[in-house]
Symmetry: C2
Subunit: 389 residues, 2 copies
Amino acid sequence: MSAPQPINPPARVLLGPGPSDVAPSVLGALAKPTLGHLDPAFLEIMDQVRDMLREVFGTTNELTFPMSGTGSAGMETCFVNLLEPGDRVLVGVNGVFGTRMADVARRCGAEVTEVAAEWGTTFSADQLRAGAEGTYDVLAIVHAETSTGAHQDLSAAKTVADEVGALLLVDCVTSLGGYRMELDAWGVDAAYSGTQKCLSCPPGLSPISFSARAAARLANRKTPVQSWYLDLSLISNYWGSDRAYHHTAPINMLYGLHEALRLVLVEGIDVRAQRHRRNATALVAGLQAMGLEPRVAEGERLFPLTAVAVPDGVEDAAVRRYLLSEYGVEIGGGLGPMKGNTWRIGLMGSGSTRRNVTLCLSGLRSALEAQGRTVPGDPLAAAAAAYAG
Amino acid sequence: MSAPQPINPPARVLLGPGPSDVAPSVLGALAKPTLGHLDPAFLEIMDQVRDMLREVFGTTNELTFPMSGTGSAGMETCFVNLLEPGDRVLVGVNGVFGTRMADVARRCGAEVTEVAAEWGTTFSADQLRAGAEGTYDVLAIVHAETSTGAHQDLSAAKTVADEVGALLLVDCVTSLGGYRMELDAWGVDAAYSGTQKCLSCPPGLSPISFSARAAARLANRKTPVQSWYLDLSLISNYWGSDRAYHHTAPINMLYGLHEALRLVLVEGIDVRAQRHRRNATALVAGLQAMGLEPRVAEGERLFPLTAVAVPDGVEDAAVRRYLLSEYGVEIGGGLGPMKGNTWRIGLMGSGSTRRNVTLCLSGLRSALEAQGRTVPGDPLAAAAAAYAG
């Protein structure tokens, strides 16, 4: 065959559920010269990545580093390392990622109890408690449900985890870098995330963190971890002082993550969290002015991701296509029961800006008008009022 | 904590066992604007990556794409998808990667028969046959043993796989992009590779390919694949025409792989293979002129990776440190029984050049002389003679 032309990807504005817009300095870091995975200069970069990750996760956990796969690899890492066949897991299921956690846990041979809540809602301690039967080894829950835009109160989950004797395992894919995270203060035992959401690094790595309790559970296993690639007892020898070769680390992706974490610290975690809150609040005000209603009740809404109902009579996919072709703006569609009736708008990391709020609201207005709708109010005025308020 | 300085990795010459030197246009591709994983512009890039991978693997297999992890994730992908508990696997073990395959297969609950050969040697059909007992589901072998520099004749493995009724599973991590691969003609049922060897792309992706027979085995499983992340029945829905979301693809790494595969096709697979042969032959001539002996017999030696014995009385690590500090050249040490007594010199992909052969030989000569050795002959003259010959 003849070789295709070199790629020339268009510059989109990524306002979907991730990947999010990547800062130029992060893209630049990806293109720095590749080092060997045991080069002293690379080991120093690894150490800095670990230190920064601990800071951004809010933890002193020794077992804190990025896994060499995307967020779903991080999810699987937590389950395969913590679970042995027959272990009992309580999973909160209120969206795609709770569903996926239950699936992954079953593939580890665990006995899984699913506690369901309507998509777009979160769990109270009473709801979780009501679904539990006896004791559990692990309670797994999603902090920031990317599929619905719901923000779980982790203190409710921690209370019930303690009651049922379980370690607390948390999906932080869409919260890390968008909120002040406090894994240690919250009593989280295992957490995983992704790089392509509020860290604004391209997808490909999954930061994880295990508490001392979780590490002890790993150390006391009776059976080998079913995944060699994700076996933390092996990988920690590479990220730790031994530097023992396990697999070849994704060098250039780690350059990107280094720069992305650096940008979080340079901005300041609280300032960054406040930026996410402020832009999301203005976005919602603008959406509501257009008659578009959020899927999640106020107080339970994520700031990095806003899910909004597609109005009756409006064609979901046509609107997204219009935004992409006319504005170069990507927003996401819904998944599962929200497919076809929900848009997911991400204002994550570098992408959480007033410019993008304005662009998204303007584009959506045009898209709705292109389908013959008249919007009831002025979204930009409503957003401006929110910024001023 | 305060943020560290931006990274500034030194420009090494990577002549170890991988990662190899990355071409400027591949580094440039990594830094192109990130697209969404369902963006039509990205789907087109995916299609081109698949087409090029098939060409470079020498296959028309439908199930051919890069997994979102490093080469070891590709290894695990092959085993977890093909094996169910109790299945029987025959593994050829003559280095680190055969050892790893046996470990991974056991973690899948398989009954593993290891056939051992001395590190640095390869298997004849008779050797494999002698180790087999009855029939097997899978025969697994390493085509290019990166830990020893040995090049396995796959026709011997295919013969025995057929005799014992097994699918043939092959580690092609260090052969893909350095040889003309002919998966279909060779009768390989499952193959995995990595991007950081002869494709000269940074580490982070693992190309895999499954034959129709292997795909049928996957389709007829009685138990779920134990890894959700590596479950090909799910992933193929994303890489296939359904484009169903599974996990968020590592977008920018796939840009890099696109460019790396493109460079293979622009050069031509046979020309590239010939380049690897020519430079490795000259390297060996130069090493021998210095009294350094290859670990692998002629005819079984890999061209992309040459393992050479550390002479008695020479300190392995000191030589490697000298090369890195004085020449900015990385070569690899040995693993397992070859630790401390073997150097591994990679001439892979973009790094397989006469310039690098010259640099490596000159650097090694200086390093040996710095340890008080006198080399018996002129390595550059011997290399030049090999190029001329």
